[in-house]
Symmetry: C2
Subunit: 217 residues, 2 copies
C-alpha cells in the first residue's frame, strides 16, 4: 500500500516532468502562447485531460514550464561559471557557457528566455511578471560576478556594472536568436567576441594582461 502509493506519486512526478520538458522545448520554438494541451497530449501519447489534470489550467502549466527552464538555465550556464574562481575567469566562463548552451540547442528553438521574454514583454499578467523576474535574475548574476570581480581587483573600480551587464546580456541574447534565424554560427562568434571585448574593457590591467577573458579572438 505504502509502496504502491509512493510508486504512483513517483510515476506522477515523472509524467509531470515529461510534460514540462516537452512544454519548455515546444515553447522555445513556438512560444508559450503556441503551447496547446492537445498538441502536448499527442506528442506525449496521452489524453488531453491527462495532461490538463497535472496543472489545472494552461497558465499554471506555462508557469511551471518557466520554472523548469529557469532550473535548466541555472544548471547549464550559471553552475559552470561558479566552478571557476571569482573574477575574470568566472565571467569569461559565463559567456562561454551561454554560447555553448545556444550552440548545443539545449532548447530546440534557442534560448527559452530569449523567445518567451520578448513574446510577453508587452502582455501584462502573471507570465510577464515571472519572465521579468527571470530577466532581472540573469542581470543580477552578471552584475554580481562583476561586483565580485571588482572586490578582488580583476574589474576596474570605476566600472559601470549595470551598463556592462546590459551590454553583455544584449549581445549574447541577440547572438542566440540570430543564430537560429539564419542558421549561421557566425552570429555566435560575433556575440562571444562582443561580450568578451566588453568584459575585457572593464578589467583592471593585471587581469587584462593575464588574458583570461580574451580567448582565441
Amino acid at each position: 500500500m505504502e509502496a504502491s502509493a509512493r510508486a504512483e506519486r513517483s510515476d506522477g512526478r515523472r509524467t509531470r516532468a515529461a510534460i514540462l520538458r516537452k512544454a519548455a522545448d515546444l515553447a522555445s520554438v513556438e512560444g508559450l502562447s503556441g503551447l496547446t494541451i492537445g498538441r502536448l497530449a499527442t506528442e506525449l501519447g496521452m489524453s488531453k485531460s491527462g495532461v490538463f489534470a497535472h496543472f489545472g489550467s494552461m497558465e499554471e502549466l506555462q508557469l511551471a514550464a518557466i520554472e523548469l527552464a529557469a532550473g535548466i538555465y541555472a544548471t547549464e550556464i550559471v553552475r559552470p561559471a561558479l566552478r571557476e574562481p571569482p573574477g575574470a575567469a568566472r565571467l569569461a566562463r559565463l559567456i562561454d557557457a551561454f554560447i555553448s548552451y545556444s550552440e548545443r540547442h539545449v532548447f530546440p528553438g534557442g534560448c527559452f528566455f530569449g523567445t518567451t521574454i520578448v513574446e510577453f514583454d508587452s502582455r501584462p499578467g502573471r507570465l510577464r511578471d515571472r519572465l521579468a523576474r527571470a530577466q532581472r535574475d540573469w542581470i543580477e548574476v552578471i552584475s554580481g560576478f562583476l561586483i565580485e570581480g571588482r572586490r578582488i581587483g580583476d574589474v576596474e573600480e570605476s566600472a559601470d556594472v549595470g551598463q556592462l551587464a546590459f551590454e553583455i546580456s544584449s549581445v549574447l541574447t541577440t547572438a542566440d536568436w540570430l543564430y537560429n534565424l539564419h542558421g549561421d554560427a557566425e552570429a555566435l562568434a560575433r556575440g562571444r567576441r562582443a561580450a568578451m571585448r566588453t568584459l575585457s574593457g572593464a578589467l583592471a590591467s593585471p587581469a587584462r594582461a593575464s588574458g583570461l577573458a580574451a580567448g582565441p579572438d
Copy 2:
C-alpha cells in the same frame, strides 16, 4: 461609372490599409501568431469574411503586415538618418531615431521586428524567410552607413563593419524590449549609450574629437 469604380478601389485600399495597420499594431504586442481574423474584424467593426477577402489567407495578411511595418521602419528610422550628412552624424542620427521610435511607441508593443523576428527565428516558412530578409536589410543599413563613413574618413580604416553593425543592432533591439518589459526608460538610455560608445570607438580621431556621436553622455 469610371468615377464610381475608382471610388470603390480607393475605399478598398483604405480598408486594406486600416486592416494592415491594426494587424501590425496587434502583432507588435501579441506576435504574428497572435493575430486572428475574428479579432481584427471586431476591432475594425467589420465582418470576418470582409477582413479575409482582402488577403485570401491568414499568411498573406501576415506577410502584408510585415511589408507595412518595413515601410514604417524605413520612414521612422532610416529616413531621418538620410537627412544628415554621411558619416558620424548620420550614424548618430540612426541610433537616436531608433531610440525615439521605441520611446514614442510607434507600435504599441515596441519594435515590430524585435517581436516578430524572435517569434519566428526557429519556425521555417515564408514568414521566417521574409523576417530574416528584413533583419539582413537592417544590418545592411547600418553596415552601409559605416562603410560610407569609412570612405569619407569618419570611421577608422581598420573598423570591423559587420561586427560593429551586430553590436549596435543588438543593444538597440534589446533596449527596446527591455523598455517594454520593465516599463523603465533606463533601458533605452543604456541602449543609446552602448550604441553611441560602440560607434565612437570606431571613429577616426577627427570625427571623434568633433563629438558628433557622443551626445550628452
